[in-house]
Symmetry: C2
Subunit: 431 residues, 2 copies
């Protein structure tokens, strides 16, 4: 065996503790698989005396993560602090400045500063590993960067937020509304007290930013992602989706279009028979479509101490074994900005639900608006009759239409006197 | 860019032509992703003049693949000849002897001689890439060897033969019998004129042998795989599986048991709601269960020129970029033979179908045999009544039982006078 790889870990929350546990539980296996012993020499965290259920007295303690990065007894820095700026960013910059490779699970940091960090790391020949930042234990970063690297990608998409997928799965199974299921998810620990980062799609958008760079070899561009969360998905829409042979999932999608790369996070309807429709609960999945490989799907747990530790240590094993790849699949200096196709230019079929007063002529008025926007209706459903003055749902599936036309149409439809609530729209993603 | 990587390709069938096409279609992308230009300099095949739809005049021609291995203008050898011995093996041995890394799609060769070839290659510090040998375009070899390498695996299983999965999917969808669907698959080119390699499970067993070595770091041991094909799966069993909430899939399974590693290829019933039950048609899938990552699944096309070329070129990109990993995840010198648990010691639930004459006391006799073998029945179905002298199906699901006891029980049940056909048994794989 070569000399041991000395590891410094900053951040000892659930994931940091999981990484420590993995590294201390099976040193022989890891040494055999990488050719070097992986040993933790130093740690940094906020509270030295918190009980983490694991002994940390044997590691050199740093109150300041930047001190850990500069510790001469540390060969590689694991950043598990979190947050797009502040100590996490300072730590990564200090590690690279000190000539040390970095492994991080921090999607927010990389979605905002990934290109700069990659440039800095690669200028010194250092790895910047972030397998744990996307889809937890699923080795999708390595798959896109190496395993599928012979392909030009046309679309990469996935279920990247376990909290949203858990909530939507529960809504599907129990037919309850978003707020009830969210409250339950919070009580079970599947959703944060402040859930907005997850349910408003921000977390999935961070991850999508990284997948987009890997697949299309462009700089990270979080601002280019169109983000829509799941708060407006109703039990009624879930039920209609089911009737129509769809499931509603929060998808993060990067797609090559004639107008450039489209990046969007949004609740989508997908064919209930498709494999990704069966990825339920806290599980994540990523589908990569390449010109030679066709469609491949990767699924597994997207979060949690074990899966995330599995991904962090995979990056450490690569570093120990001397395996290097450019951060985003091509050298950071070769990442080329691509045209971004704005959401208004998105083209696809739509699900539209209206709540209308049940009187003759309503459908004719709605159809006329759609006709004027050149949107054609594939199917229309009106079930049951309402009591006078009550709203009745009308559900339509359109053929492919442009988002801008759909937005104009829905605005006009919303103004019709018979339409009693703002129209609801969910995009249909074709697989 | 560093100096180009000079590639020699032996075997210009569908896959070889696909690799040539990929390498010539996008040289810039591949160079950017690996840091070197990948250029084909020499080829070897049987017939120089066959029209392959692609120009090969620019490459040095070798009638003898061993000559290609020794060509000083070749840095790396791609073996796409096939077959477990003969020219394919001679080529790989010659390449390694000449100090050149090898990339192969040949599962038969590696299932039988993989350890010896890995020892020879690694002794010279050479890579032996075989991503294309298992599950086509799915980068499962890299996932087990690197992406999930922090895990101890408890079970790895998958759908590894597209022909069988296509036939079983068609049987499921059309309720026709095996022979009718096989004939159709042959006419469509999804099954060979001599289909036994596929439908008798041999091809899946070759691939399982490689997955087992990767997951459990043991030498390849094809002889230790219990192999059962799909010829005996009937339309009736497919229909019962459906009624009972199962799907029948040909699974290849490697599992850690208290008695050692169990390796088996066999038609299994799996929960119809499980993600792998939705992997249909010619698609393949692999599920890896690790102690930290929990369950991950990878699916995609398991064969064909495009997906296989994607995998072959991924291995070439690793070689071009200087990324190395031991062939089977740990150095070949460290592969440790593991105890093999024989099929007789397999424990799991079983589906059993009997064709009995419909008269009082039959069930009691069957139940008594099972009781004597300590096998308990979870459910029993007897639908419809037969005309006198006609057989009626009786279907049972057992609780967990040992294979040896089940074999004894079925032998005795088969001898009961009321049992009119040999009993049919399909193992249930719990997910």
């Amino acid at each position: 065996l070569s000399s041991p790889l000395n590891i410094g870990i900053a951040g000892l929350g659930t994931v940091g503790t999981g990484v420590l546990r993995l590294l201390t539980e099976k040193p022989a296996l890891l040494a055999e698989r990488s050719g070097r012993r992986l040993q933790v020499t130093a740690v940094a965290a906020r509270d030295r005396h918190r009980d983490r259920g694991i002994a940390i007295a044997g590691y050199r303690w740093h109150d300041d993560p930047v001190g850990l990065a500069r510790d001469p007894g540390v060969d590689v820095v694991v950043e598990l602090i979190g947050g797009s700026d502040g100590p996490a960013r300072a730590l990564c910059e200090a590690a690279i400045a000190a000539g040390k490779p970095v492994v991080t699970a921090n999607k927010a940091l990389l979605a905002l500063h990934g290109t700069a960090l990659a440039l800095a790391a690669e200028a010194k020949g250092l790895s910047l590993g972030f397998e744990a930042a996307v889809a937890g234990g699923i080795p999708i970063v390595k798959a896109l960067r190496e395993g599928l690297a012979a392909n030009s990608f046309t679309r990469v998409f996935g279920i990247l937020n376990g909290t949203c997928n858990y909530i939507l799965t529960q809504m599907q199974e129990t037919r309850r509304d978003f707020n009830a299921v969210l409250a339950e998810a919070q009580s079970l620990g599947y959703a944060e007290a402040d859930p907005s980062f997850d349910v408003d799609g921000v977390d999935a958008a961070h991850k999508l930013t990284l997948l987009t760079s890997l697949a299309f070899n462009c700089p990270v561009d979080f601002a280019a992602v169109y983000v829509e969360g799941i708060r407006h998905v109703s039990a009624l829409d879930i039920a209609y989706a089911d009737d129509l042979g769809y499931r509603i999932k929060l998808l993060a999608i990067a797609r090559q279009t004639p107008h450039g790369i489209e990046q969007r996070v949004q609740p989508c309807m997908i064919d209930a028979d498709s494999p990704i429709a069966h990825v339920d609960g806290v599980f994540n999945a990523v589908v990569a479509e390449g010109d030679f490989v066709d469609r491949t799907m990767f699924s597994g747990r997207g979060a949690g101490a074990g899966p995330t530790a599995s991904a962090v240590v995979a990056d450490l094993l690569d570093i120990a074994a001397g395996r290097k790849a450019p951060t985003f699949g091509v050298p950071a200096t070769a990442l080329r900005p691509l045209a971004h196709s704005p959401m208004q230019r998105h083209v696809g079929p739509y699900y539209v639900r209206l709540m209308v007063s049940d009187r003759p002529g309503v459908i004719a008025d709605v159809a006329a608006v759609l006709r004027d926007q050149k949107i054609s209706i594939e199917s229309l459903l009106q079930r049951g009759r309402a009591a006078p003055g009550q709203a009745v749902p009308v559900v339509m599936i359109t053929h492919e239409a442009e988002e801008a036309a759909m937005v104009r149409a829905l605005s006009q439809i919303g103004k019709l006197s018979a339409v009693m609530e703002p129209p609801r729209m969910i995009r249909i993603e074709q697989l």
